[in-house]
């Protein structure tokens, strides 16, 4: 099936070449970091995780969100998602690969990374996170490729895939739960040590991931003949409902956090929130981000609750708002504010460097390249069958 990715229009190839150029720039930046060390990033003794781990955390959510299509379609026989589900699975594949790459560019000794397998530590959440991520990648690849392959031949998917599909449902929940446990189990990091972390992660994932997916469906509709939500089906509007409730739950969970911190009046609990929303000890670099996220979150919810959700122009705006609200919350603020204040009650700020940002953009470009290729294959198979 892969050969379908090797034929395409001029625009397709221009896009691929553009991505390759971005990847090359990112790769050069990574080589610099590889030779010099992580000192080329903005990370420090006090803020020892930065953009890389934050992107990883956010993208695990995007990967997990495929389950919001898989569960209704395969478990509840909800036919509306029939054409969209493959796009969700392929989005998950590309997101997991980006997750793995973000971990890889974040470690100080990448050549030793297999030590995690060579000396597995059953008490480390990191070990389980690696297992579930790799497992999820394999599951989605097997399921996506087999079902699409069967579709190409016009035969039903083989029977053995179904148990794997069912397995992918709890597995999707597990990847984001385990990722939340990375943070929620650390003593002394008040911002992270909260029982609601995994629930918050899942809620934000099920809002941001499907938002991105609908946006992708709209793009695919524009650039190809394939429409994952043909007129009369209403798959997008069904997914919008899921996004709406997930986002409301996410904001609700966040408000629970803020209430607990401020009503209890425990200084360590309040400090990171203060840092994110109003600044702490004169340091306020996250404040504009956090307020942007807050406004976008409420704007997104409003647009998705009101009839505006059916408007062709306003729907993408609503989805973009939800997506970026979550991206700022999880892909920037959550990790950085977790380190503020540090173990000594001092504030150290973190500003990513250009080299670091180039690497982040490069990894995203790899993910988008993989996504483009997978979508090209899926779309080619579908349009070929339609004719």
């Amino acid at each position: 099936m892969f050969e379908k990715a090797l034929t395409g229009s001029k625009k397709y190839w221009a896009w691929i070449i553009f991505l390759l150029v971005v990847i090359a720039v990112g790769f050069m930046a990574y080589l610099r970091q590889y030779n010099y060390g992580l000192g080329l990033t903005g990370m420090s003794r006090d803020v020892s995780w930065g953009l890389y781990i934050a992107q990883f955390t956010f993208l695990v959510g995007v990967a997990a969100s495929a389950v919001m299509l898989v569960t209704p379609y395969y478990l509840h026989d909800f036919k509306k998602f029939g054409k969209m589900v493959i796009l969700g699975e392929f989005l998950a594949i590309s997101a997991v690969i980006m997750c793995i790459l973000f971990i890889f560019v974040d470690v100080g000794q990448p050549m030793r990374i297999l030590n995690v397998l060579l000396y597995p530590q059953l008490h480390s959440v990191m070990f389980y996170d690696m297992c579930v991520l790799v497992g999820y990648l394999v599951i989605n690849f097997v399921v996506g490729w087999t079902t699409l392959g069967a579709e190409r031949k016009g035969i039903p998917a083989p029977k053995w895939v179904r148990p794997i599909i069912i397995l992918s449902i709890p597995w999707a929940f597990s990847i984001h739960t385990v990722t939340a446990f990375l943070y929620a189990g650390l003593p002394g990091r008040a911002f992270w040590m909260t029982a609601i972390m995994a629930a918050r992660f899942l809620a934000s994932a099920f809002a941001a991931g499907p938002s991105l997916l609908i946006l992708l469906v709209l793009i695919v509709r524009k650039v190809s003949k394939f429409d994952a939500d043909p007129p009369g089906v209403g798959a997008i509007q069904s997914l919008v409902k899921i996004i709406r409730y997930a986002m409301i739950a996410n904001v609700f969970f966040y408000i629970c956090e803020v209430f607990t911190a401020f009503y209890s009046n425990v200084p360590e609990e309040m400090a990171p929130f203060k840092y994110a929303f109003v600044g702490l000890d004169g340091h306020a670099s996250l404040v504009p981000f956090m307020w942007t996220a807050t406004i976008l979150a409420f704007l997104g919810i409003a647009l998705l609750v009101l009839p505006t959700r059916k408007n062709k122009v306003l729907l993408p705006i609503a989805l973009l708002s939800v997506f970026f609200a979550n991206w700022i919350d999880k892909g920037i603020v959550l990790i950085i504010a977790g380190f503020v204040p540090n173990s000594f009650g001092r504030v150290t700020e973190y500003f990513p460097t250009m080299n670091e940002i180039s690497i982040v953009v490069g990894v995203y470009a790899i993910g988008i390249l993989i996504l483009t290729i997978l979508y090209k294959v899926a779309v080619s198979v579908r349009t070929q069958n339609d004719q």
Binding site: G37, L38, R45, G108, I113, M126, M130, L186, P267, E268
Partner: protein
């Protein structure tokens, strides 16, 4: 000369399997892994304990010189670099003021003098170390004598331990430390960029029968011994005098105690 794709793949697979198998057979013949009849032992002069513990007698740390002597003794034998900036900073033992060392219990009426009272800080060698739990490779681990040690060979530099440590005791080598070490001591390794490091209670000196370098340099300000031994000095101080530890509420059970009031030892 007409084989179809399936046959071709099958034959190619068989040839590959044969080749790989053959190479194993050949290396199997060549590799002579004779075990030498040897043993590994602990050193005879080595100091042993069940729970190494440090008591910091703050009354013995009066001048800037007292702190400097202790820190310097560690820096010189452990090849600790000085980058001159807090971002890349590596430190094993250092000082900070009361207000920040014991952050959380703010008492706004304390005099400035009290708030700024300096304390010696190092890894707490917790009984339940969160860093060890976090480490995905076992590069940081707890020894039987209670010391939380580092295996620099194994560290992949994921910095999970730095997030897990509630005491800010861990440093990461953000860049090559060698050019920033004043004078390299050949008896202790420098570190490679990309690994985490911290105080290890001088395990290498304990094995040679020596007390940790900071203890030797402290003129009695640092008392080191076995908390499990009822007759040890640390045990006597901790059981009869007023000592405090950092962030006990987290339940990690630090093994570094700060003796307040000081005076004569037991």
């Amino acid at each position: 000369m007409s084989i179809n794709r399936r046959q071709f793949l099958r034959r190619a697979g068989m040839v590959t399997a044969l080749g790989l198998g053959g190479s194993f057979v050949i290396t199997g013949f060549r590799g002579k892994k004779v075990e030498a009849a040897s043993e590994y032992e602990t050193s005879k002069q080595g100091l042993k304990a069940k729970h190494w513990t440090m008591v910091v007698d703050m009354s013995k740390f009066k001048t800037e010189e007292d702190f400097k002597r202790v820190t310097e003794s560690c820096v010189s034998i452990h090849n600790i670099p000085d980058f001159g900036n807090p971002k890349d900073e590596v430190k094993w033992i250092w000082k900070d003021d009361y207000e920040h060392t014991f952050s959380g219990g703010e008492n706004e009426y304390l005099t400035e003098e009290f708030k700024k009272l300096p304390f010696t800080i190092m890894c707490n060698h917790c009984e339940h170390p969160p860093c060890v739990k976090a480490c995905p490779t076992g590069a940081t681990f707890k020894r039987e004598d209670g010391i939380v040690a580092m295996d620099f060979h194994r560290c992949i530099g994921c910095r999970f331990c730095m997030g897990a440590c509630p005491f800010g005791a861990r440093s990461f080598n953000y860049r090559d430390p060698r050019p920033f070490i004043k004078k390299i001591d050949p008896d202790f390794p420098t570190r490679t960029p990309g690994v985490v490091e911290k105080c290890v209670f001088c395990v290498e000196r304990l094995a040679d029968g020596l007390m940790p370098a900071c203890v030797e340099a402290s003129n009695g300000g640092l008392i080191f011994g076995d908390l499990d031994d009822p007759n040890s000095e640390v045990r006597k101080i901790i059981s009869t005098k007023y000592t405090i530890r950092r962030k006990v509420e987290l339940g990690t059970q630090p093994s570094v105690y700060y003796l307040i009031g000081g005076g004569e030892h037991v």
